[in-house]
């Protein structure tokens, strides 16, 4: 418990702890992720043109122009500058990742707390639904979410919001399950009983005593989910369920538009947005993987036990 308290800044602690390859992976991941955040934040400064700009003072850009001095990475079939769209795409991706993870944490932790703390029929229903949704193919679920929330495509603010919420639908069951298992464990400990004995209310026990101890595994899930969010966003865009090109730049959408280009040998419209996705997802996965490996061994066995024991535990509950 003391070690967890000392690790107020989890990443810094684990960076010190790591050696060799693991340190290399963690550092590489942090550098790539940092680069991504930096590019996203400075997009308007870095990008030579706007994300939906079609012409400048010298005239229209033209479609499918190969890389040149004027367009370092060429132009798309729609006549946009590829470099600018790749850079602005980072902004969209970062917004979606942050929004989807924040929403998932809030919803997932709240539901997990309620489910684990109160138990009973609420718990059974939530676990059954979460298990069913957990097995649902994630991208399909996100597509359904996108249809419900925005009816398909939309502007930047609502598009990012809708996409983020669609991804949230996929993530909530994961947070619910993890938090619930932790709550069940913490609930049985002596200090919770002690709090109850001295007359502390349910709400205060949940928020003060249980919550703090139940959320410590979350940073690991968050880092792994961040890369999943990037890939889901790209998948949605690739299937035409993302954000409109005039509203914001989105890598998945650009890749979808480049399928025909690839067939005729035009490589620059596909290569660069795709590389951007790989670099960002790689960075976040490296961080997540390293943190997972470096985590306290007790913690690691518990995480694995939690995910592996889900089906037997549901069976046990059902049999009761």
């Amino acid at each position: 418990m003391a070690r967890i308290e000392a690790g107020k800044l989890p990443v810094v602690r684990q960076l010190r702890q790591s050696v060799g390859l693991q340190r290399g992976m963690l550092v590489a991941g942090l550098v790539l992720t940092g680069l991504f955040v930096l590019v996203a934040a400075l997009a308007p400064v870095l990008a030579p043109y706007g994300h939906s700009q079609l012409r400048d003072a010298a005239g229209p850009f033209g479609a499918q122009e190969p890389p040149s001095g004027r367009h370092l990475l060429g132009t798309t079939v729609g006549g946009y500058d590829v470099l600018s769209r790749v850079i602005f795409g980072a902004q969209t991706a970062l917004l979606v990742v942050i929004a989807s993870i924040l929403a998932s944490i809030v919803l997932g932790v709240a539901l997990g707390l309620l489910s684990g703390y109160f138990g009973g029929w609420l718990d059974r229903v939530l676990v059954l639904v979460a298990d069913a949704i957990y097995a649902f193919p994630s991208l399909l679920l996100a597509i359904l979410g996108a249809i419900v929330i925005s009816g398909g495509q939309s502007s930047l603010a609502s598009g990012v919001g809708a996409t983020a919420l669609s991804i949230t639908v996929v993530f909530v069951p994961q947070y619910l399950r993890v938090v619930r298992v932790e709550v069940l464990r913490v609930k049985g400990e002596a200090f919770v009983d002690a709090a109850r004995v001295i007359g502390t209310g349910s709400w205060r026990i949940m928020t003060r005593h249980v919550l703090r101890n139940a959320v410590r595994t979350l940073p690991l899930i968050v880092t792994l989910n961040a890369s999943e969010a990037i890939l889901t966003l790209a998948g949605l865009g690739f299937l035409g369920f993302g954000i409109e090109p005039t509203a914001a730049a989105e890598w998945g959408y650009d890749l979808q538009r480049s399928i025909a280009d690839v067939t005729s040998g035009i490589w620059w419209t596909a290569l660069f947005p795709g590389l951007a996705i790989v670099v960002v997802a790689l960075g976040m996965t490296l961080v997540g993987e390293s943190l997972n490996d470096l985590a306290d061994p007790r913690l690691r066995t518990r995480v694995r036990a939690a995910s592996a024991s889900t089906s037997p535990s549901t069976v046990a509950e059902d049999a009761r």
Binding site: L140, V278, A281, T285, V315
Partner: protein
């Protein structure tokens, strides 16, 4: 008890899909909203029964699904069940190819990584596995296409079979939907080669993604079993290293692997949707993307519900297989 659990799961999945799809309104307005006058629209909605209370529609839908009727598509007026049967075979074929690629690549490499734990082969393999995870399957597909189909011209760009091959199949009355089976039935080797050439790139794109998952999985579980006493005991008896890995440590590691591989079916289906779109592989995923673009939500609802049920049933079967492999697990 485990057996009965599949029923509520399927029920919840079908209900979730229904609720989500109908939360937006009726599918006819969604598909034809701009193109028909309000009167025509109301007439179509009434004819299809979408103006009845939602609960009545829901009970109706459940009853129809139980009979295997998923409705009729709006855009091309076909029974969804027929769409599922026609295109499902193509998706299944692609998934099987991808799993073969993934097993051939992922399992031995995972064993290798576990054996050389924390040394350079392990490092290289793990980084490759993370790359495989971080690369969207459609980008991998586009890259493969760019290099091997367009750049080098070795393999076809898209589709499942060439026109000549298709004609040969029709002449042989081989129309099972499984291209490789049909190609073999024509009895002409060039048709088989043609089909395999078309399958090579999509199978590799989807297989690489899954191979990365298999590699990590095999590695983690093998490390667990390689460290056990009985492996040391076998080594001290003079069992060869190769046999230690492939025989002694492998089987106990297999149980968690089977369980997690079952969970990968969902990922495989999602990957198939994206791969099919990339390679114009006319399967369920390609069709789903078409229906999404046409805003044909009846078809979307049917395909998504089917995929969700397939995943749930597979997970269930996987649990049974895991129980068969592991004598300690009994339901």
């Amino acid at each position: 008890m485990r057996f009965l659990l599949i029923i509520p799961t399927v029920f919840i999945l079908v209900t979730t899909v229904f609720v989500l799809m109908r939360a937006t309104g009726d599918p006819i307005t969604a598909a034809l909203g701009g193109r028909l006058t309000p009167d025509q629209l109301a007439e179509r909605i009434h004819a299809a029964g979408y103006d009845r209370p939602i609960l009545v529609q829901y009970v109706d839908y459940l009853g129809a699904v139980a009979r295997g009727d998923f409705g009729t598509t709006l855009s091309d007026n076909r029974p969804v069940t027929q769409v599922l049967v026609t295109y499902g075979s193509a998706t299944l074929e692609l998934a099987v190819y991808a799993v073969i690629v993934a097993i051939v690549l992922g399992v031995p490499l995972g064993m290798l990584a576990a054996y050389f734990r924390d040394r350079w082969p392990d490092a290289v393999l793990r980084i490759l596995a993370i790359f495989a995870y971080a690369t969207p399957v459609f980008f991998a597909g586009l890259l493969l296409k760019l290099v091997f189909a367009v750049g080098l011209g070795w393999l076809p760009v898209a589709g499942r079979v060439s026109t000549d091959g298709e004609i040969a199949m029709q002449q042989a009355h081989a129309t099972s939907g499984f291209m490789l089976v049909d190609a073999i039935r024509t009895g002409q080797p060039w048709v088989v080669v043609d089909v395999l050439q078309h399958a090579a790139l999509p199978a590799t794109a989807l297989g690489l993604l899954t191979a990365g998952v298999f590699l990590r999985l095999v590695r983690t579980n093998m490390i667990g079993t390689l460290g056990r006493e009985y492996v040391d005991a076998a080594r001290s008896r003079g069992v060869r290293e190769r046999r230690l890995v492939t025989a002694h440590a492998w089987r106990p590691a297999l149980i968690p692997i089977i369980t997690v591989v079952g969970l990968q079916v969902a990922m495989l289906l999602v990957g198939a949707v994206l791969t099919e779109t990339t390679f114009e592989w006319r399967g369920l995923g390609f069709q789903l993307a078409q229906y999404l673009q046409a805003r044909d939500f009846v078809a979307v609802q049917g395909i998504v519900a089917l995929m969700a049920v397939v995943v749930a049933v597979t997970n269930f079967l996987v649990d049974i297989v895991a129980a068969l492999v592991d004598p300690r697990v009994r339901y």
